[in-house]
């Protein structure tokens, strides 16, 4: 299923939504709510191979490649991380490897999450982004092979 908006368009939407939120506690609440709606993965997906390293909680990510677009799905046992996964999936899922590789991550700073989500906080944001980019690279290589 292809997304109709471009990555930059989705990022702008998110920036607008976050502008209406206040400080970090409200942003966290927002993330918690979108996290709650993240669907569970198929049971077989919860294995070591699908784990994203670099997070205090357990994070799993799986992908499908359909019609030149990568579909991302993810889950975590921490609500905050589920929320972050949901956010990233909204931005990156349903796009081509090239679009994903070209996407910049300014929006994270613009929504005020960057400072709260450094690697030291252990919530896996950077790790998940790296993993998404890595998948894009891998699928692109497969396509051109």
């Amino acid at each position: 299923m292809a997304a109709s908006k471009t990555i930059p368009e989705i990022e702008e939407e998110i920036v607008e939504e976050f502008e209406m939120l206040g400080e970090w506690p409200e942003k966290y609440e927002y993330l918690m709510n979108i996290g709650k709606h993240l669907p569970r993965l198929p049971e077989t997906a919860y294995n070591e191979d699908n784990k994203v390293r670099g997070c205090q909680s357990n994070v799993w990510m799986i992908t499908k490649f359909e019609g030149g677009k990568i579909i991302f799905e993810g889950d975590s046992d921490a609500l905050l991380v589920k929320g972050l996964a949901a956010l990233l999936i909204r931005v990156f899922s349903g796009h081509s490897p090239d679009e994903i590789l070209a996407a910049n991550l300014d929006f994270l700073e613009r929504i005020g999450l960057q400072e709260h989500l450094s690697a030291t906080r252990g919530n896996g944001l950077l790790a998940m982004v790296k993993q998404i980019k890595f998948y894009a690279l891998a699928y692109k290589a497969k396509m051109t092979a």
Binding site: P25, Q56, G122
Partner: protein, 424 residues
Amino acid sequence: MMKSVANTEFNNLRINAESFDVKSIRQDFPILKTKVYGKPLVYFDNAATSQKPKAVIDRIVRFYETENANIHRGIYHLSELASDAYEGARDIVQKSINAAKREEIIFVRGATEGINLVASSWGRANLKAGDEVLISQMEHHANIVPWQLICEEKGAVLKTIPVDDSGELILEEYHKLLTQKTKIVSIVFVSNSIGTINPVKSIIGSAHKLHIPVLVDACQAAPHLSLDVQDLDCDFLVFSGHKVFAPTGIGVLYGKEKFLDAMPPYQSGGDMINTVTFQKTTFKEPPYKFEAGTPNMSGAIGLGAAIEYVHHIGRQNIHQYEQTLLKHATEKIGAIEGLKIIGTAKNRIPVIAFTVEGAHPLDIGTMLDFEGIAIRTGNHCTQPLLARFGVSATCRASLAFYNTVDEIDFFVEALAKVIKKLKD
């Protein structure tokens, strides 16, 4: 012979050594007035690092304002002041842990460096293929990884004393693991993750029957218990300044004279040498043999001031007060539904680690932060211990003598609300 330098910052302390007035004590710690998201700070992460009293902060400022110069080198007045202050701090440390000689006190960056120093310097000279190094399942990574590396280098074997379900060492297993092959035991006095106080004196006694030296990691013991290295009879002991109300970047390695004399240097360079030529260089005696380069002078002096501050309040007073905090916290926290306390040893410092069914520590810690509460979440640099308890992360509340019963009650109320919200 070094003059001892008076730390005049204690002249205006409002504390009374006979009684424990936590309200007055809190006035000594400026950071406790901080607000977080507009709420008063409730600092429950003392096992990670401690807060500093004004007396320590002022002593460091006084050093930089009136005494700062490089030590051991100058013949001028300021250098003498700096050297006296630095060496005076060494004397304070020696007295505080009842070391027999000042030469047995080495200033290092922290316990991690201290353990690395022993593993590297003592280890390289004494370990060979097939030898065994004995640590425990509850060690901090700083007391695991240096030994792993030296064992790998030398072909030695790392063995571990197991921990039972309450978080206590299984001593029968310890005695089985002590053999002719064991060359050193390196053991934590108090666990940073679960608060267990280990019976290190008898652990050392058993090792000594087989002439096996023992290193004690006293990082979490130093803030809460009295240390007496002669009574313990430990061969090495380490602790870090930043956990005992002193600055970061300073720590202590205590070693018995006979060991330090025999050990080769760890880091080399200036200040640890007698003569240097391109043909041959000779080294100083301990402690200077192990103190290469310009040391963390203000750190050492700050450490001396922190030790004196704690002494002023009184170790017994602190211990009694902390045990009442521990009892209150354990009761209240333990009563929360769905919450499991990890680490229920009979003898503990006020550290409470817990998990909650259906709520991840990361979420709990994040939401408590919004209430101004600072706890730690994660594996606390003790991944093997947490794996033993079948968890990958816990919440940890670790208290100090400036925390209060009111703070505990506030914490418990906030925690219950957070858990309810997360489970909805």
